[in-house]
Amino acid sequence: MTPIAVTTGTSFRVPAAIAPGAAINRDETVEVTIDGHTMTAYRGDTVTSALLANGHRRVGDSIYLGRPRGVLACGVEEPNSLLTVTRAKAETISETMLIGPTVEVTNNMVAEHVQGIGKLAETADPEYYDYTYEHPDVLVVGAGPAGLAAALQASRAGARVVILDERATFGGNLVGTPDAVIDGKPVETWIAETVAELQANDDVTLLNRTTVFGGYENNYFMATQRRTDHLDDQVPFGVSRERTLHLRAKQVVLATGSHERPIVFKNNDRPGIMLASGIAGYLNRYGVLAGSSIALLTTNDSVYLLAQQLAELGHLVAVIDVRADLSEAALQAVAAGIDVIAGSVVCDTTASDQGALAGITVAEYLADGELGATRHFEVDTLGVSGGWSPVIHLHSQRQGKVVWDHEVQGFVIGQPRADFHYAGSVTGSLSLGEALANGANAGAAAADATGHFSFATEPVAAAGHRGPVAALRMVPSPDGEDQDAYANHFVDLHRDQTVQDVLRATGAGMSSVEHIKRYTSISTGNDQGKTGAVNAIGVMSEILDGHTMDDIGTTTFRAPYSPISYVGLAGRQRGELFDALRKTAMDRAHEALDAVFEMAGEWRRASYYPRAGETKAQAIRRETIAARNGVGMIDSSTLGKIEVRGKDSAEFLNRIYTNGFLKLKVGRGRYGVMTGVDGKVFDDGVTLRLAEDRFFMHTTSGGAQRVLNWLENWHQTEWSHLDATFTSVSEQFATVAVSGPKARRVVEQLASDVDFAPEAFEFMEFRETTLDNGIPARISRISFTGELSYEIAVPTQYGRALWDAVAQAGAAYDITPYGLEAQRILRAEKGFVIVGQDTDGTNSPQDVGMDWVVSKIKQDFLGKRSYQLDDFLRDDREELVAIMATDKNSMVRDGAALVSAEDLDAPRPVSTSGHVTGYYDSAALDRTFGLALVRGGSKRIGEKLYAPAYDPPVEFEITPLISFDPEGTRRDGER
């Protein structure tokens, strides 16, 4: 891209004596490289002020049409200048889609314009971010004159105040305005004194470079503070790059100001066509002249102060005023010798060879809205004011009413929101005197509402007089009335959308602003329609007969007000701190064994323990063989555990579980399934009866919270008369399961007090004891592998000692630690269900082979009544079965769809017969096998199914759910 220089080599910086530039420090220069040009700027300059000061005005081509574009605005509403910025810091990252007028220059930074679309950095962001919470009495959004007056009043009344402003400087658009006076002082003095007083008050937080981007229920606001981007490589240690503020304010004062709007006319997008407030901003804040021959086009009085300044500098060509009758301000300008062309518009522009503005065609704007006689002016810059749009975003985000105001010619606050106050030009007023007065009154009212009464002291300034505002948003095309005549009437500069595009949308039958927004993409760009939205509505009202601004209305404003970084929202919660990581007490033992881990919810669990030279498959196979033929050990500490106490505990559990718990004997455990009231399985586990009135419930690892909530829900809302209390003890116990034919030989060595003989210690019994090494323990005969198994639970602090003791006792039997992968295979061979893997929230216990766990005797339990519903009586419900591939080495992925033989070759689409819930390589079966949910599966044993996702499709046979040791002969171990 070739930046267009207005006059190469010429500085557009105005001498300090004429325009000091309130935002810059002329004593400190900064070297920057923008779009490949290295240039000198001042501290406080932005990328766009640096560009304009050095005679560059092109800021990248437009997103779709590739038209040259220039700087439009001096603030966050800028739609054209979008940058990828890399700062000269040791630890940094390039950031993209930054808005040119908001990017402060730092030494040796590199900024490149993008063509409407950002380029993400490919490396991780090395900087850090944090967030904080604030609970002010009064939040003031915006530190222009109105906001400062509000904060001053509220803080003097004794309220705790937070006042935030997105810009680097305080004072809003007042900054650098010549000749303005407040309380008899120059504005710069008043701003400085006010800021100093607020900063000195411990109960006031005053922050610049901080954007309030979202407003939520009950006055919850979020803001982003950019803390270090304006610094060279000298960021103090420990200072985050950005800080997200979460604010809960009792009262809010919106002093958010307003944005000037452009006017839509033919070729209104050339570099050099700016908002008049942009030209004023660069001049007053940065001491930069936007061009050398400047015309202004306006619908209102707000440009006449700028016209005066430009005329004094000798760069004003003319003011084109849409209004036929000259206002008081216009008449004063005429009296001062300014050429005011009344009742006229700009209807077209011409460009230089490089595409920059070279001239404007001024036409008479006749009473009937037609164009009259035309004149041509050679200018390099045109400042446009199509009126002002109050920044009502935070009000609208909270569903505050918004109405069109004919006098203001803008959408204004329709009805104040509760606990909101409004001050300054957000109200539609452009008068400094009014801004200060209603700022002070808003501050007093807001503070009073929080118990801090005061009489408002209004700072005094000239009231200013606003003349009428012309209702013009679009100038007719000089080329006729058909769509093509409007191909270069730009409505949304970032999205490159024109009046022609709006005509296309209305031509397709659309009349709602929400539809047209989505059809055209107007207002969906980086700037979210800050300058284009009202004009789009204006264009619609011109096109659609009988539709006024009022009844078209605006689209809904949504957060964020201006772009924010995701990484800033994340704060410290990245990488390791993104989520809690739960490790069991034996985690380091797994690490020492070189375990490969997997996540089970927040828990980190050993997946398998590869030995040197082993593949994953070999390791898992070895582990399953050990548990089947010798002995294995697994860390099962992550299982959820809930203690249930109270004399009605048994009755309570009897209502919760599908099977009976009243007759469970002390010292024994029972497997239970929990279903919702709809009869669908949601958790399972073994519950031990520790005493008549005390139970110890196991849940799935991921389901512990959900189950506790479920129990408390029923207890508190339906059965509060039952005496039962629930305590989560998941993290209080660490558990090792010892499983395999030789398990008894291992545990015998650990607890000599316990008689482990099969007749003395039966399946589903438990013993409370003290291990020989002194650790108190509960040993349960619970098996998830089908082999003889003992689960040893100890207080968590002894978890590692338990693991080591078991490993030592088992060494003689070559005890083998096994992980989740091996456990999945071992349990699948036995047809044991994993809730959440083999079930999906639609299955009854009967569907997954557990008819036996559903009581036929109990009068009621949660879910029972649902089993009589028609849906549960269908004979084509999905049922859990085992499947065996015809080729015993075939492997398929979990979730693979299954179809019947006839559907395999039928024209698609066909309905599936079900899906694979897990498919494994089994050493015990000497083949691959899996579990699957199959329609009517239990009645289709022997039938063939196919996984058509594979080429050729994989063929399976449906087999009974239990594939290994269906008689259960292995449960008591070696004889």
Binding site: E217, V677, D678, N709, Q716, Q868, L869
Partner: protein
Amino acid sequence: MMLIDCPHCGLRDETEFEYGSQAHVPYPQDPQALTNDEWAQWLYFRDNPMGLRAERWVHLTGCRKWFNAVRDTVSYEFKATYPVGTPRPNIPPHHGGIR
């Protein structure tokens, strides 16, 4: 983010709470006495009014107590919160509220 007035803990952030469907829909005295249609009505059907609605909420990461609330489904505004087992307070409906 809303503030919700837990009857036991006072105003707390919305993220501490969980919603639990319509309030005052008790578990049937004897589910077996209901027809399939009646059971399905109780199981699956809940009111979805535009305006005031009584709901069950639980202060999950606070006191863990269930309570009831009357909330405006248009404005999201909580009009009242009250303990389980107490009757729904009589609050005049008003549509199009603000939050």
